[in-house]
């Protein structure tokens, strides 16, 4: 079992992640904070998320398959246990809340659509995604 991601890990990569996100969203570096929500605070569009992941893959020389965050959150739940017809089940929502621990609980809604999950993502979510990809690459 990989050790938990801690603040020191995040601090180490945060400046490079923030820079990639600022560049993707064409914002000044000062506008990007660790707790900024990509789609809310930083007004990202769906294509921006693809661009951010592309830039992070290039910057950190890692591979991040699209949809990785949701797959990781699902963990050992079956697809049917996790979602039904594109809507998160109760168990799926619980898993997602645990996995995206940086996202405030009140941002999760019951019967949340899978397609809406990226609206929860914060800059910190991207940091954790990169750290997991780095560990997977090193393993």
């Amino acid at each position: 079992m990989a050790r938990e991601i801690n603040w020191e890990d995040i601090d180490n990569i945060y400046p490079r992640v923030a820079k990639a996100i600022a560049q993707a969203l064409v914002r000044d570096a000062g506008e990007v904070r660790l707790d900024s929500r990509l789609f809310g605070d930083l007004e990202a569009e769906s294509i921006d998320l693809l661009d951010i992941v592309f830039r992070l893959e290039r910057e950190f020389k890692v591979q991040i398959p699209r949809g990785r965050i949701i797959e990781d959150a699902r963990g050992d739940l079956s697809e049917a246990e996790f979602e039904h017809e594109g809507v998160l089940t109760g168990a799926g929502l619980k898993r997602l809340r645990e996995y995206l621990s940086e996202v405030p609980v009140e941002n999760f809604r019951s019967r949340m659509k899978l397609g809406d999950v990226p609206t929860l993502f914060k800059v910190e979510t991207m940091c954790k995604m990169v750290l997991r990809a780095m560990r997977a690459g090193a393993a």
Binding site: A24, L25, V26, I47, L50, D51, F54, R58, Q63, P65
Partner: protein, 447 residues
Amino acid sequence: MQDGPARDACRRGLIMASRRRVAITGVGLVTPLGNTTAATWDALLGGRSGVGPIRNFDAGGYPVRIAAEVKDFEPPISGANRKLLKYAARHTRFALAAAQEALADAGIHPEPATSTRWGCVVGSGMMGVAFAELVQFQHDFAPAGAVASKLVFDPAMPARDPVAYARNQANSGLGLLVQGFGIHGYASSVHTACASGGQALGLAMRLIRRGTADYVLAGGFDSMINPVGLAGFCMLGALSTDNETPYRASRPFDRTRNGFVLGEGAGFLVLEEWQAARRRGARIYAELAGDGNSLSSYRITDSHPSGDGPIQAMRWALADAGVAPSEVGYINAHGTSTAMNDRSECAAIKAVFGPDTERVPVSSTKSLMGHLIAGAGAVEAAVCAMSIRHAMLPVNANLAESDPDCDLNFICERPVSSRVGIAISNSFGFGGSNSCLVFRNPEDVAG
């Protein structure tokens, strides 16, 4: 009941009286002569050439190493629209800057209450995928020549830029313009090679006439000064090879002309329904009064030596505006500086203008700014609007030796100060599309 011509004239009179007129109230230009309308106009009147050695890329091994490039361009885009630049290829950046200047110049822009009455029509799209991105694709996925399809989505391969696809779509410029300026009414992108810009303005005019829109942001933009675009025109033998004398390379209608000079840039106009423009006290450069389109249906790159095709475009445009050839005070010629175009265009002008050919002043501003391809028609429409407003006719530069096949009343050596009542602009494209636009002095419009 009247018959034949009398009935047609009567009907035309009724149409003219009841038709919604179209005012040009804003102009924006990014050209090889300057990155604003004022800078471009100043260089045109000063006879300063925009042609020089190619700086966009290393053209050292090409037979043509000169072009009319846009220089020192920084898109003056700020605020929320800054992000649009991420999706904007070089020519689209020109478009965003020229459109922004045109709207600022007009002093009007789409607002929530009016945005569905705004349209946007552009001429663009000669080039698609940027060369560097093609090279990268070839390098990564087709190392042996053919695409190795398994490599394209192989996770072990370098990550691909997902934005490149959005940036290189043929209509990405149109998409960014309507998003950037909040246009919600009507949009279309015209591509008929070098006739694109002229046809886009003609379509825009018709949108206002028929009531589909009250305002249209209309123009053209292009850049083919890249390794693929330049090679293509070199292989067609269409370009001047006068690398040692770039400023003289484009010499439309000169006996020694030997091809066109590739240019790049953008031209945008704000078109408004006439009465609306009058009510708000807008400065009106000119009425966009007529549009004629024809198809030569002849050959891919040749123009018919008789002028067939351009003749109809000019006649239909004049008829559309209700104008006789005797009323025309300036022709901004297509005038590419190729042997064939210039001869064919002269034949067409003579056929249309008959005895007025000796009187009507003609110039090709491509002599200074090169050929902006899909952007040319829109930029040259802007030149006509400026000529009417300032009562100045720009020069046909570099016309030193007259060609017996090209014996029109060219504006040589220096610009001419002359009030213009009616100006026309020609744009003809590979593939046989011909566009002619007619512009009327606003002082000559009642109401």
